[in-house]
């Protein structure tokens, strides 16, 4: 096996809908489903596989790196793969100078910021055209690129305009953004902690995307929404409609608060409180269409939420009626192994819990919404309020590479978000290897086309950029014609 310690990176594979958690790390491509057990010894693990009956198993062993990232590899990434033209097209929002109604200064007033190696931070970078943007990034090779707001004037010239009290340098447009981070869910997931993410807890992100995306469209009427994988443990959302870009801080805060359900810190006890005789339609719809099913059909079992005493006590502590809690505790303490080993213990216990809470026998105060509160606590999206509330908040650009994981921040299709797998997102190494294998091919579409990045960029263009550009052009034309009309009227004979 060689002197280097070969470590296999294993991907949790969904077999028959049930996640198979495996401890050893290895990259294995299952071409047919095969049940297996893992052993702690690396060598015996290897032996087990090679003796496995199914002949279609293919094992690829790759040498373990510190992480899938190396700063030197950013140069070829920016050189050949990063989609500069697409980012530029997006950021111009139709103001590309091709229509008389275009605002030529628009792109130049957008702030970018670069995080360079050694923690150097360059803010208020601005560019007049795509080439300047591209050259600057290729030259500086930033570890991270952030996008800020569009200001009243070119950020590079801000000092000239910030005089005394009347600050003329201020943000005028900024996408409505959301940042959802898995660490905010640490108190409801048992499979991972902190920066780790696996397929058992990723559904929490899927839920967040579904709930927020639906509401942004149905409730607020937004249409141009981009969801992006943050590269490690979360997702970002960019709402790019004109209406969204022109929202004030107060309006952004109001939307963030509209979405806020979980409130609390280590000192407080009850973090989800759903009062009232009914749920607000938004919460009710989210519960019925998304939260309930994900909780009951996926998270209950994958997180073993009621399987052990420690875990079920957590849920029991959320029941304000002590008599119900003790009744359930009594049932569960005794039945370690229930008679029917077929049905998952979590499912069984949840049914018992629901029955007691919803039976109507106990009409105690605060019991009315207890079931929903528990479900919301374990599933409802937790947004970072501060990110959304201020126009000047910077957010990482799509298609950056995450320095800790090497993964590219690729777009996520909200309509197919159930199928998104963060563990298969292309990494920097993987992409460069693919490039090498493809040879030097001058593809008119860009060299990403032959790589795993191709799908990501195609998705970005077809589902987001193209409809957005079309809408922007229409808007520019409309307001231009309106201005013409108004000036005609004022001249009028």
């Amino acid at each position: 096996m060689g002197r280097n310690r070969l470590v296999l990176t294993l991907r949790n594979h969904l077999v028959h809908g049930k996640p198979q958690g495996l401890d050893i790390q290895g990259e294995i491509f299952f071409l047919s489903s095969c049940h297996h057990t893992c052993t702690s010894s690396l060598y015996s693990f290897f032996i087990h596989f090679s003796s496995c009956k199914s002949s279609s198993i293919f094992i690829q062993m790759i040498p373990q790196q510190e992480s899938d990232f190396d700063h030197n590899y950013l140069k070829p990434y920016y050189g050949k793969l990063f989609p500069f033209a697409d980012i530029f097209k997006w950021m111009t929002y139709g103001h590309d100078g091709k229509h008389p109604g275009c605002d030529q200064s628009y792109f130049g007033r957008r702030e970018f910021s670069f995080t360079l190696k050694g923690d150097f931070y360059l803010r208020f970078q601005s560019f007049n055209n795509a080439l300047e943007l591209e050259n600057s990034i290729k030259e500086k090779c930033p570890l991270k690129i952030d996008i800020g707001p569009v200001y009243t004037v070119d950020p590079a010239k801000r000092h000239a305009y910030a005089q005394g009290d009347n600050n003329v340098f201020a943000p005028v447009e900024r996408e409505l953004i959301f940042d959802i981070d898995m660490t905010d869910y640490d108190d409801v997931r048992y499979c991972c902690r902190g920066a780790d993410v696996c397929l058992n807890c990723w559904p929490l992100m899927t839920i967040a995307i579904k709930v927020i995306d639906t509401s942004l469209r149905d409730d607020f009427g937004f249409k141009h929404i981009l969801w992006v994988y943050s590269g490690r443990r979360g997702v970002h959302c960019w709402v790019c409609d004109g209406k969204a870009r022109r929202l004030t801080n107060e309006q952004r805060a109001s939307i963030a608060d509209y979405y806020r359900v979980y409130k609390g810190n280590e000192n407080s006890h009850k973090k989800v409180s759903l009062m009232g005789a009914a749920l607000h339609p938004f919460l009710a719809t989210s519960y019925t269409n998304v939260l309930k099913d994900y909780f009951e059909k996926i998270l209950l079992t994958s997180q073993n939420l009621l399987a052990t005493e420690e875990r079920y006590e957590k849920i029991l502590s959320m029941i304000p009626d002590e008599s119900i809690a003790s009744e359930l505790r009594g049932k569960w303490q005794d039945s370690r192994r229930s008679s029917s080993a077929k049905e998952d213990i979590n499912v069984v216990r949840w049914e018992q819990c629901k029955q007691l809470l919803q039976s109507g026998k106990h009409k105690a105060q605060g019991l009315r919404r207890c079931v929903e509160e528990i479900v919301f606590f374990f599933t409802y999206p937790r947004l970072d309020m501060e990110v959304s509330k201020h126009m000047n908040h910077l957010l990482k650009a799509p298609f950056c590479v995450h320095p800790k994981t090497g993964r590219v921040c690729v777009p996520i299709d909200p309509n197919q978000c159930d199928e998104f797998d963060p563990t298969t997102v292309p990494t920097l190494f993987q992409l460069l290897e693919e490039l090498n294998n493809e040879g030097l091919r001058a593809d008119v579409n860009g060299e990403w086309n032959g790589t795993s990045l191709g799908n990501a960029i195609t998705l970005f263009r077809s589902s987001f950029l193209e409809p957005l550009q079309k809408a922007c052009k229409e808007e520019i034309e409309r307001s231009y014609n309106l201005k013409l009309q108004q000036s005609k009227n004022s001249v009028g004979w």
């Binding site: 009290d165 009347n166 607020f220 009427g221 209406k243 929202l247 608060d257 009232g276 749920l279 339609p281």
Partner: protein, 471 residues
């Protein structure tokens, strides 16, 4: 507006505001009125009293019902006029004069905008339904009422929203207004409206919020315009106006923007002036729990994070610690941890900033209970309201350190459980001082001054005794 000499009494009146809105003007345009010079100043000062009163009430954390009463009282007392017909004139004139004064800087604009909007909101509530309807007409709202067909299609959702707030479902004849969600941020934030395709459906009893937002955005825009116009006018004014006129008005305008008319603890009372050597003693006897905690932590760690420095620093300023002593106080603590040089470099600037000696030169006011309670201390922070932000365990420990007996402790914890944080603090005060505090605690500096009021007389008398004994 034309400023006339005292002898002239003519008051032309043809503001379109008044015609459509007899009781609540929208101040859309400066009316062609003639104003006597003395009225120019006195009307403005009367209105300023109202606005400052509102500001004071809000910073003391008064609840909406209390604010309503307060506004009614303030308006009645200050904005009346001997001639009933002049009441509206006074209203309009005073607004526009203050607008001229407060449009000049960002901070002044912000303050004026907040107070005028609060005033408008409460006054709107007092209007008769017809008068309210008239205001809404002015904002083109009546045409956005939801028709029956649409109402039927969303009735169930509207019912859900109402019931989620503990209200009954809307009846068939209920009126709802369909407005872009951007116009009702408060209602959106609280999930108090049904929203669909970018429109919020606002119930009649929520219209105040909507109207207030529209008023605010209208006033905000005009304030900035007023500033530009005023700058231009001033240039023309100072160059072309007669010397006499300039000297009459400019001083008045200058004085108005800096006058203060009430206690906001930015000016310390005499008996509360403390010096460096007193601090340890008064901290034990008269600081409320939030400040005591910060003070103790500072002594323990020789450091506080920004939130804590602001909350405690401004409190000490309000209590009477002057800048020199404040610098000495913080220096003594911080230099033990970060060293003298770093203190001078990184921290002393902020202390001077708090006293209005740096940067914008804003003289910051100490935080009220409302502000402290609504703060969100994070990891490593010690500020905030312990009654709200501490766990029961920690709070009990802190209270017993302060000397609260076990019986009082239970009463306090009961209040805390019911989220009456200020009442909990009041009970603590009463337990420690052996006296009732009828007004209730609304401001940490109020706790301090009330405490000193009780303790001081005893202090004075003991000092007296000392003197006589010596003699």
């Amino acid at each position: 507006m034309e400023i006339v000499r005292p002898q002239s009494h003519r008051n032309l009146f043809s503001s379109n505001d008044a015609v459509s809105v007899p009781s609540l003007p929208l101040y859309r345009s400066a009316p062609p009125l003639e104003v006597r010079l003395e009225d120019f100043e006195s009307f403005a000062i009367d209105r300023l009293r109202v606005l400052k009163g509102i500001s004071d009430g809000l910073s003391r954390g008064k609840k909406p019902e209390e604010m309503e009463k307060l506004v009614k009282e303030l308006w009645k007392v200050n904005m009346r006029h001997q001639h009933a017909s002049e009441v509206l004139n006074k209203d309009i004139i005073s607004h526009f004069v203050l607008r001229l004064v407060y449009c000049r800087t960002e901070d002044l604009r912000k303050w004026f905008l907040s107070m005028e909007c609060a005033l408008f909101r409460y006054r709107f509530r007092f209007l008769t339904p017809e008068a309210q309807r008239a205001v809404m007409d002015n904002f083109d709202l009546t045409c956005r009422a939801v028709n029956n067909v649409e109402f039927e299609s969303i009735k169930e959702k509207l019912g859900q929203v109402a019931r989620s707030m503990g209200q009954p479902s809307p009846t068939v004849d209920a009126i709802f207004y369909k407005v872009p969600f951007e116009e009702v941020p408060e209602l959106v934030a609280g999930r108090k409206v049904f929203i669909s395709q970018g429109y919020a459906y606002v119930a009649m009893n929520q219209v105040v919020s909507l109207v207030a937002t529209l008023f605010r955005s209208q006033l905000s825009k005009t304030l900035i315009l007023t500033n530009r116009v005023a700058i231009n006018c001033c240039r023309k004014w100072t160059s072309s106006i007669r010397e006499q006129e300039k000297h009459r008005l400019t001083p008045i305008v200058e004085a108005l923007s800096s006058s203060y008319l009430g206690p906001d603890f930015s000016q310390p009372r005499e008996y509360a002036e403390i010096s460096l050597k007193d601090i340890d003693q008064v901290a034990k006897s008269s600081f409320p729990l939030c400040m005591r905690h910060l003070f103790d932590k500072l002594k323990e760690d020789h450091h506080l994070k920004h939130g804590g420095r602001m909350q405690l620093g401004l409190f000490l300023k309000g209590v009477g610690l002057n800048l020199e002593d404040a610098l000495a106080f913080w220096r003594a603590e911080f230099s033990k941890k970060v060293g003298l040089e770093k203190f001078e470099k990184d921290y002393s600037y902020n202390i001077r900033h708090n006293y209005g000696k740096e940067g914008k030169r804003t003289d910051y006011t100490p935080y009220s209970c409302q502000k402290i309670i609504s703060s969100t201390p994070g990891a490593g922070d010690q500020h905030g309201c312990p009654y709200r932000h501490f766990s029961e365990e920690n709070l009990r420990a802190a209270l017993s350190r302060m000397g609260v007996n076990s019986r009082a402790m239970e009463d306090v914890m009961d209040k805390v459980r019911n989220r009456h944080y200020q009442l909990a603090c009041t009970l603590t005060f009463e337990a420690l001082h052996g006296m009732t505090c009828d007004a209730g605690i609304n401001h940490p500096n109020q706790y301090f001054s009330d405490s000193q009021k009780i303790l001081q007389p005893k202090k004075d008398s003991s000092a007296q005794n000392l003197v006589t004994a010596r003699e």
